[in-house]
Amino acid sequence: MTRAERIRALGLLAPAYLWLTVAVFLPLSAMAFFSLLTEVPFGEREWSFTIANYTEVFGNPVYATLLWKSLKLGFWVTFWCLVLGFPCAWILARMLKGRSREVLFLLVILPFWSNALVRIFSWAIVLRGNGVLDRAVNAVLPWDVNINLMFSEPAIIIGLVHSYLPYVILTTYLSLQAIDETLIEAARSLGARWPRILWRLVLPLALPGLIAGAVLVFVPVVGSFMEPRLLGGRFGTTYGTLIEDQFVAVFNWPLGAALSFILLAVVLVILAAASPALRKAAT
């Protein structure tokens, strides 16, 4: 690049970098700073630097237990999003056309447009004892069953899957749509039936989309706090609610910040560990 080109490129990149600095780097730095303090440096409070927040987290097994719980939650929500999202994406990409596809797309994207709190409370109405689900099932079945999913792990997973499913559907839709129809015809001409075509051809070709979707779901779900708190009740204490408590209830920002950074590190380590496999699958 010539000097002039470099200056022009810099000029074009500047807004993006400025935005990243303001929106990501500065808040993260502030959090990193907080995580090393003894007290929130507001008002008259005395504060000094310490690493006690981190040693506290590593020293107390409760935090590790909650982190493990959140990672498992992330795994299961991602799993169900993939299992449910793939058929949806397949139907959208390969089976529907025109108006019916548009309508279905709207339904998929609808969770994005609705307020998260409203969405979660609607699930509460559906899942609680004597709620919508309970009554619907009892209206159909001849014998009495008692369905009360409220304040349980399944309720949390249902709520989170509903919130994050669109990511998987959209990313998978894109990679499924890119599959050339003649590839499937070629496989059929060679005698392959649907299970094999799906396993050997469609899934491998859709893998980049599935992986992108999985990452988009896993990362925020591990840190989620609203769904666990509202749908999980006393089962709903997760690493995410723990962090939220530090900021909102206990007002221990330094510990909350330290917890956040440890979560960030753990998620990055998981993604880095998985990245060779992911990269291989994506090519």
């Binding site: 050339d180 003649t182 590839l183 015809e185 070629a186 496989a187 059929r188 001409s189 060679l190 005698g191 392959a192 039936r193 094999r196 050997r200 051809l201 491998p204 070709l205």
Partner: protein, 345 residues
């Protein structure tokens, strides 16, 4: 070995008939070219034999099995697509092995057959590559190897060479013919390129608007097109029309061509000769030289006769002593070169 036969095959898309009562036999072990302009139904016919298109009426026989209701997966066909349709997530060897994997051929046998198939298409040693690392011609060969490795009853080629550039296409034509001869599988291929059809096929069928217009060996069809569409579609033709009389065909300029009993004839450009003084034959026309086109070894004369453009092609060294453009010129031909046509097209 398998003879393929379709009987009264009809397929309508709304009011338009893609196939209209097509009856045709594809001989066992032969190389059959299906030819026609776009929209003639040739691809629909191929896809009906493959099983991707279900005919409205009619029968399809692979050997002595009627297959109209047999799904694609069970027809034991091999197909090569215009876009090759190689599986991008698999290596060349895995692509070729796919059909064997489906048939649960055990590992060692499978490997041996894949190697054989790749050797046959002269791609031995390319097994470990991905399709994206191959050139167009090589992909074409892989597609061919993948289609024949399962020893299908019939090999269906859908415009197999049209994505290649011209020089490579000619090479691949020879290659395709060689491979087909070696494996001896009944082969049906679709093309809109008449030269390709003439080069490759043992027999050709010409389709127009879903109907089979003509069927036969390339030479028989070329030498006796019988109707103006076939004459123009297969090679180039000057079609002359007139009124049949007792003595022959009376043309618009009053010329009487003796011995012609049909309302039209076709003259191949290469069958024509020219002369400045009137030639001593009744098989002649007086035209005007409109244009002379040089194209390497052969040259073309474009002539104007009664407002119709006629073409004459000849070896370039036979076109040396020409009068100026615009001057009158006699065209003549041997009587046998006038191909009788039953219509004027």
């Amino acid at each position: 070995m398998t003879e393929v036969r379709v009987e009264g095959l009809t397929k309508a898309y709304g009011p338009a008939k893609a196939l209209d009562e097509v009856t045709l036999t594809f001989p066992d072990g032969g190389f059959f070219g299906l030819l026609g302009p776009s929209g003639s139904g040739k691809t629909t016919l191929l896809r009906a034999i493959a099983g991707f298109v279900t005919p409205d009426t009619g029968r399809i026989w692979l050997g002595d099995q009627a297959v109209e209701r047999v799904p694609v997966e069970d027809r034991e066909i091999g197909m090569v697509f215009q876009s090759y349709a190689l599986f991008p997530n698999m290596t060349v060897a895995e692509n070729v092995a796919f059909g064997l994997e489906v048939r649960r051929i055990p590992g060692p046998d499978r490997t041996r057959r894949v190697v054989e198939a790749l050797d046959l298409v002269q791609l031995g040693g390319y097994g470990g590559r991905k399709p994206s690392e191959l050139s167009g011609g090589q992909r074409q060969r892989v597609a061919m190897a993948r289609a024949i490795v399962t020893r299908p009853r019939v090999l269906l080629l859908d415009e197999p060479l049209s994505a290649l550039d011209r020089a490579l296409r000619v090479d691949m034509q020879i290659e395709l013919k060689r491979i087909q001869r070696e494996v001896g599988i009944t082969t049906i291929f679709v093309t809109h390129d008449q030269e390709e059809a003439l080069t490759l096929s043992d027999r050709i069928g010409i389709l127009r608007d879903g109907r089979l217009v003509r069927e036969g060996t390339p030479r028989a069809v070329y030498d006796d097109p019988q109707d103006a569409f076939t004459a123009r579609f297969l090679g180039e033709a000057n079609v002359l029309t007139g009124l049949p009389e007792a003595g022959g065909l009376r043309l618009a300029d009053g010329t009487l061509l003796p011995g012609v009993t049909t309302p039209a004839i076709a003259l191949r450009p290469e069958a024509l000769a020219f002369a400045v003084p009137p030639p001593d034959t009744p098989h002649r026309l007086q035209a005007r030289l409109a244009q002379r086109i040089f194209s390497g070894a052969t040259g073309t004369l474009v002539l104007d006769w009664q407002g119709q453009r006629l073409k004459l092609t000849a070896s370039e060294r036979d076109l040396l002593d020409l009068p100026a453009e615009g001057s009158p010129l006699w065209l003549h031909w041997p009587a046998a070169a006038a191909l009788a046509l039953r219509d004027a097209g």
